[in-house]
Symmetry: C2
Subunit: 380 residues, 2 copies
């Protein structure tokens, strides 16, 4: 049994108001190719398929296309709803899709529904556990589960009790494991750390395919894993390497995992420097179309810095004027600046806008105008 574990597709997500649909199509196509190359039996998507409970129509159309490619290749797909997904919407007509090998698990049911899939190295049983609040688990399972951890323990009881006839058990979940590394792009499941679950609960299973955290990682044991998201969904993820996880299960031996890297259409990076230096570097930067956060170190006012940067780096999404940050030194410079008087300030401004200093004639005219203004003020 060979499958690809992925999660957190967040189809339809925007990064600083920039649609990522083309970027998502690009990596999803890669996952289709990887599945083909590695001849996998199944694709597991561990939640947060869409970014919102009501995804835009073009996100729905993209998912439809991608799923169709997997199914056409004879690859079974199991996907569960995450905390971002609209469970009822995602689960619509799911029972009618199963015969085609598409298993979508939207709302949590009272009974976990094991899915047995066949592969060359033997079969395996998958236990899909869509994301559910503890209150939902209490209501649906009619149990007392005060926390995310207690709720998961209740669900896993059913997995333990199910007779897999000696076949490996694979749990699919969407939750926050204690000790997991967060980024800026996960939406907290609850406030104050009450969402954490100990990884130990998953150790008895052959493999646990998790979603929620956007960095690929394992916790407690190598086979208890987050595949991570398919794209960097915040600048805090700039140093992460996105991938999907290729999992091989052979009866008798532990699961073997390989990370298959994804290469994005455009990277998400932070660059830092003085405007002139950045503009010069940008001219020969092969990644100048990446999604960028720029930290400008210049200490003086710059007219339309964003426009200048975008003439070289078209996808600057965010600009920080680090060099202008309020600190004593900066404040001192600012007050020095004011002391300069109108003449000096206008000279700076003119040079900034036109690229050239004032000519003699212009300087004369300016001085004369300022004198007249000052005289007028004094008379009043």
């Amino acid at each position: 049994m060979k499958f690809i574990h992925t999660s957190d597709w967040h189809i339809g997500r925007q990064l600083h108001n920039q649609s990522l649909l083309d970027d998502q199509r690009h990596v999803l196509d890669q996952i289709v190719s990887l599945a083909k190359t590695h001849e996998v039996d199944a694709l597991i998507v561990a939640g947060d398929i869409y970014d919102r409970s009501v995804p835009p129509a073009n996100a729905v159309a993209l998912l439809d296309e991608v799923l169709n490619e997997f199914i056409a290749l004879g690859i079974d797909v199991i996907m569960i709803a995450g905390n971002h997904d609209g469970h009822e919407r995602l689960g619509f007509a799911a029972r009618q899709m199963q015969a085609s090998g598409l298993h979508i698990i939207g709302p949590l049911g009272a009974q976990v529904c094991p899915i047995r899939l066949s592969g060359e190295g033997g079969d395996a049983i998958f236990y899909p556990l869509p994301y559910a609040e503890p209150a939902t688990v209490r209501q649906i399972l009619d149990c007392e589960a005060g926390s995310h951890e207690a709720a998961m323990v209740e669900l896993l009881k059913q997995v333990h009790e199910h007779d897999s006839q000696g076949l490996p058990k694979v749990v699919i979940g969407h939750c926050f494991l204690d000790g997991g590394s967060e980024s800026d792009s996960e939406r907290p499941l609850s406030i104050g750390g009450a969402d954490k679950i100990s990884p130990k609960h998953f150790q008895p299973f052959a493999y646990t395919a998790l979603g929620h955290l956007h960095g690929p990682q394992y916790k407690g044991a190598e086979q208890v894993r987050y595949s991570g998201s398919i794209l960097k969904y915040s600048f805090s993820e700039q140093h992460q390497h996105k991938s999907v996880t290729l999992v091989e299960l052979n009866s008798g031996s532990p699961a073997s995992m390989t990370l298959l890297p994804l290469s994005p259409l455009r990277d998400v990076r932070i660059i830092e420097g003085a405007l002139d230096d950045l503009l010069k570097q940008g001219a020969k930067d092969p990644g100048r179309e990446d999604y960028l956060m720029v930290r400008l170190l210049d200490k003086h006012a710059i007219l339309d810095a964003m426009g200048k940067l975008r003439s070289v780096y078209p996808n600057v999404l965010h600009l920080e004027r680090t060099g202008l940050m309020a600190n004593n030194e900066q404040l001192a410079i600012a007050s020095d600046h004011i002391k300069k008087g109108e003449l000096e300030m206008f000279k700076d401004f003119f040079t900034q806008v036109s690229g050239d200093p004032l000519s003699e004639a212009q300087l004369d005219l300016l001085t004369q105008t300022l004198d007249e203004l000052h005289k007028g003020e004094a008379e009043r």
Copy 2:
């Protein structure tokens, strides 16, 4: 081949801010029963499945349940998107549902996809044509179709050209046939009558299952039909009888149609009369829980008429004070009323609110208070 033709479910629709989901579940369950009783081979839903392109989650869950019942009975379902539906959303994963007998046609494709279904009296070919604006048809079919009619003619060309091997052809469409009777609950397809299509284009086919108009009717020929909506979605439909159409196709003979009536959980009606009479009648009205528009004929002011009506008719959705309509007579009464003076008006008001006339003591106190007020005014 025996099938039920229905349309315009508008799941998730509200009537004057009242959710109709329970009412919709009630009649949809009836359709399931009718399909079972009449042992039909298929269910055809000719568009406007949902009321909005983004239906509420409970509407999605209801449709999921209902479809599941039909599929579990072994009844094939073909449904097309209407002008109210979100085509991409409705068509999600449609290709993965076909093997289960669920055929959802969301966005229009360049090729009409004939669906062959089997029945006891012989097979038939269904040609589902989801609703599409002429501009969409021009783009997708790469043709010149300036109107709804021209666009339909282009689509029907494909139906004519398809070789059905002698089997009856059934067209499924969502459009406005010339001469069709409207109600207040259809959303116009375009302004100024440019949405009308001559019924003659559909006459060559064994049967045409149409959606859009909410009253059951046929145009041009008996087999070119609107099944009508499953519920009255406006008070203008109060006199309509809602039904689904049972269609039988036997090779060699024309289609035979029977209307199977639907009985709603609550009717949609208009009642008219004086408040007291209506309240008296209501006490013994078995349909007092119907959705009502009330036209009050009383000519005097009534405090909280809606509250009083709802104590007897809990689902009054709209109130018209027909008796207070501005006309000469009404104005005359109103000005008579003003001439009455404060004392008479307050006496009326008190009786209205408390149900009893003023006592002697109360009348004395009121007269005294009014005198003081008038004296005060005169002095000023």
